[in-house]
């Protein structure tokens, strides 16, 4: 998967994994407090936060695997920092990353406009929900309640991860530190065209 990647892209991707691992962990604790009071529904509307690194990294690097790997890594970092849900978080990271990756693979890694990024966020939401359905035993809950959870999660993926991820990557591009990555090159060719 890493063939054709430059080393600096791999390091950048790993660093994103680390930074967002911390951000994820922070929100995990906030979410946990919420969930105690409101129940599993508390997580759903903010679920997009946990998909965001896939979108940012893919939007910047634009190579196959750029969505799956950082998400997996971020989850692994959460585990390594020692106080998260543990190794099963890595599993959910892989699944969320695959969901986002699937959306980009559908367009053959050619288009990276807002709609595709939102689709990727929604994809991560769908994949993670299917996994959660199995693991947390949502099957035992009322179907209409499950449908509500599902809609909230997909919407949150599209809005928080899709739009939010693009916003963060674009502001990063504006700082000029992303020169030399695919996103800056694409920007240039757009200007020329």
């Amino acid at each position: 998967m890493l063939k054709g990647w430059k080393l600096k892209e791999i390091v950048l991707m790993s660093l994103f994994g680390v930074v967002f691992g911390i951000v994820y962990l922070l929100f995990l604790h906030i979410g946990n407090l919420w969930a105690g009071i409101i129940g599993p529904l508390a997580y759903e509307w903010m679920f997009g936060i946990w998909f965001i690194v896939s979108i940012i990294s893919m939007y910047i690097i634009r190579k196959p695997g750029a969505a799956l790997l950082p998400e997996t890594l971020a989850a692994a970092i959460e585990v390594m920092l020692g106080n998260a849900i543990g190794p099963r978080l890595i599993l959910s990271g892989i699944i969320q990353g695959l969901g986002a990756e699937a959306a980009f693979a559908l367009t053959r890694y050619r288009h990276f406009h807002l709609a595709i990024l939102m689709l990727a966020g929604a994809g991560a939401g769908i994949f993670s929900f299917v996994y959660g359905y199995f693991l947390s035993g949502y099957a035992a809950l009322d179907p209409s309640f499950v449908a509500l959870m599902f809609t909230l999660r997909v919407l949150s993926g599209a809005i928080i991860a899709g739009i939010g991820g693009k916003y963060i990557a674009d502001s990063l591009l504006a700082t000029g530190s992303l020169r030399g990555y695919a996103i800056a090159k694409a920007e240039k060719s757009d200007v020329r065209a």
Partner: protein, 249 residues
């Protein structure tokens, strides 16, 4: 004996934990997760040196989460056709719901106990080394991850500096926790921009030292021993004993 779980091969431990968690997801009776939880804590008591104070602290948020699951299942769970245990307002709580609520919330505890076992007994660097040596994780990726991991303290200092810089220029820190969280947004972009530049410099340094993906020998070897298989079977034993609760409960 007390270091066995710490010395266990991290990859095998990871495999054991994953197998346990995926299997537990198939059980919907309250006894299986409860027994599993007890078994895991027993294993950790016997074969590890755990700071139990820290463990209880780490367990606390999961306890709250489990409680959340408990009452949502009671309220939103499918009533099924069990006997009605009691009625609160318009809500009938059947035996089936009652059992399911216990099962799902105990499952949260079972999952977190085995996860905490992994977190408390595994050294992150050794885990990556093991991934590289046992599961053929690409060294290019593995060393990038190790480098990024070493950046954590640097990023923390940078974060504090950014915070102080912002404070000097005006937007002071607010006493309200909510405002402090929304203020993080302003710090994220400069922090990331700095991180991107650091990543680039680290990549150059790695290239200069030939960390570019050729076959490497390892200074610290993480081996597979017989102990790993004994421990793996112990985990399977706990899993199958708790799983057998289906038959007698």
């Amino acid at each position: 004996m007390r270091r066995l779980l710490h010395e266990m091969n991290p990859c095998i431990k990871f495999l054991a934990v994953t197998v346990c968690i995926l299997t537990l997801a198939f059980f919907f009776n309250p006894w299986t997760p409860l027994l599993f939880f007890a078994g895991v804590v027993l294993l950790q008591l016997l074969f590890s040196q755990t700071n139990w104070k820290l463990w209880s602290l780490a367990m606390l948020p999961f306890l709250i989460g489990a409680f959340g699951y408990f009452w949502t299942t009671l309220v939103f769970g499918e009533p099924g056709d069990g006997l009605v245990l009691w009625t609160i307002g318009k809500l009938d709580i059947t035996t089936q719901q009652w059992e399911l609520a216990w099962s799902l919330s105990l499952r949260v505890l079972a999952f977190s106990s085995i996860s905490l076992l992994f977190a408390f007994t595994t050294d992150p660097v050794r885990f990556i080394q093991s991934l590289m040596q046992q599961w053929k994780l690409s060294p290019k990726l593995a060393f990038s991850v190790l480098i990024s991991y070493q950046f954590l303290p640097v990023l923390k200092t940078e974060f504090e500096q950014l915070q102080q810089a912002h404070r000097i220029r005006g937007p002071g820190s607010s006493p309200s926790a909510f405002k402090r969280i929304t203020a993080l947004r302003r710090l994220l972009i400069p922090l990331l921009a700095g991180a991107v530049r650091k990543a680039e410099r680290a990549a150059f340094a790695m290239e200069a030292r030939a960390f570019t993906g050729e076959a490497r020998t390892h200074y610290t070897e993480v081996k597979l021993t017989r102990k790993d298989f004994v421990l793996f079977s112990l985990f399977s034993l706990v899993l199958s004993v708790s799983g057998s609760a289906v038959f007698w409960a």
